[in-house]
């Protein structure tokens, strides 16, 4: 039990996919303009990660080494398409806001990275824990980035205006602001990690 908890916890800070492993940065940069988008993306990616981790861990013994990558991609693409279909059916507004970045989860290196580095070598139980932890870490990272960007760049929190007379700092709504925020947060994570050890 203890090991499983460790697998879950590690994704949040110690091996945070965004700030420490630096995986899946493209969608992180692109969709973190608003917190609702960040949350939606985080949940979608977590779902895909969970599905692909479970499946890949199940089929790891029957898949020959030589064709493992195509197999993983097929599995991941399936789950991404499922996610997209559900999103289109039940939350079209979110689907439109996230745009191309939902189908692009297929090539999100966080999902493939966890499949290759973890799920293909671990038990189903551990893979589930890993996926949940990584997904949560990814979602939290997205919420943190998009929170900073939305509050500073638009003056809103989940779409609600906070201060009336606030003059938004547009740079945070632009891609350059995303790079700035991620860079500063990464250095902060590095600082925290170094202090601990």
């Amino acid at each position: 039990m203890k090991l499983e908890r460790k697998e879950f916890i590690k994704g949040i800070i110690k091996e945070n996919p965004t700030f420490v492993l630096a995986l899946g940065l493209c969608p992180t940069l692109a969709v973190s303009t608003a917190m609702s988008n960040g949350l939606g993306m985080g949940i979608a990616a977590t779902f895909v990660l969970l599905g692909s981790n479970i499946f890949i861990s199940l089929i790891k013994n029957i898949v020959p080494d030589r064709i493992r990558i195509p197999c993983y991609i097929v599995v991941i693409a399936t789950f991404v398409t499922i996610t997209e279909l559900f999103m289109k059916a039940y939350s079209p507004a979110l689907n439109r806001a996230l745009g191309i970045y939902v189908p692009l989860i297929v090539v999100n290196c966080m999902v493939l990275g966890r499949a290759e580095a973890y799920a293909s070598k671990s038990s189903v139980k551990n893979s589930i824990m890993d996926a949940l932890g990584m997904g949560l870490g990814f979602t939290l990272a997205l919420l943190l980035i998009s929170g900073i960007r939305e509050i500073l760049g638009l003056g809103t929190f989940f779409g609600y205006k906070i201060i009336k007379s606030y003059e938004p700092m547009f740079i945070f709504a632009l891609p350059s602001g995303a790079l700035l925020v991620i860079g500063l947060l990464m250095s902060l994570f590095g600082l925290l990690k170094n202090k601990k050890t």
Binding site: P64, R66, V75, T78, L85, Y90
Partner: protein, 171 residues
């Protein structure tokens, strides 16, 4: 040879399972997706032409050129057209209602992916309200949003061009 066959077979099985799964999910969600799409267009059409109760798409080939709007008395009381143009970072789609006198009743930007806070201001009411009552000749009087010049000019231009096009068809 045997190795290749084995690999191919396994990949094949995985693909079949995956496509089966997708087919199941698709058939489960497709009705809902259709409904959402229809709802959305219906709602947007209503917004630019509130006095109409029924819309009829006029098509040339597969594409919808414009919508004819019918009022309560089942008579045509206006038209709706869709204008598209490249903005700053995305394609901006605008829906515009047209009265029988060929004057714009209202416009609504229905799809855009512009810079949040800047280009997205084309969806603001202060901008879209300027269009109300304009005809093809004086649309250019609509003033662009400062800080979002490219996006707002794209909307203005696309509506103007499409309106001129439509005037020829409707005549």
């Amino acid at each position: 040879m045997k190795e290749i066959l084995k690999c191919g077979l396994i990949l094949c099985v995985i693909c079949v399972v995956a496509s089966g799964l997708l087919a199941a999910v698709y058939s489960f969600t497709s009705a809902q997706i259709d409904k959402q799409n229809k709802n959305e267009t219906g709602e947007a059409l209503k917004q630019v032409m509130p006095r109409a109760i029924r819309f009829e798409a006029v098509k040339s080939g597969e594409e919808i050129t414009y919508y004819r709007c019918y009022g309560k008395d089942n008579k045509v009381n206006g038209f709706i057209f869709k204008a598209k143009a490249k903005g700053y970072s995305s394609e901006i789609e605008t829906l515009a209602g047209l009265s029988l006198q060929k004057k714009i009743t209202a416009i609504k930007v229905i799809s855009q992916n512009e810079t949040p806070g800047l280009g997205t201001r084309v969806t603001d009411e202060t901008f879209s309200q300027q269009f109300t009552g304009k005809s093809a000749g004086d649309i250019s009087q609509v003033s662009a949003i400062s800080g979002a010049t490219i996006s707002s000019r794209a909307v203005i231009k696309s509506v103007e061009e499409k309106l001129k096009e439509l005037q020829k068809i409707l005549k």
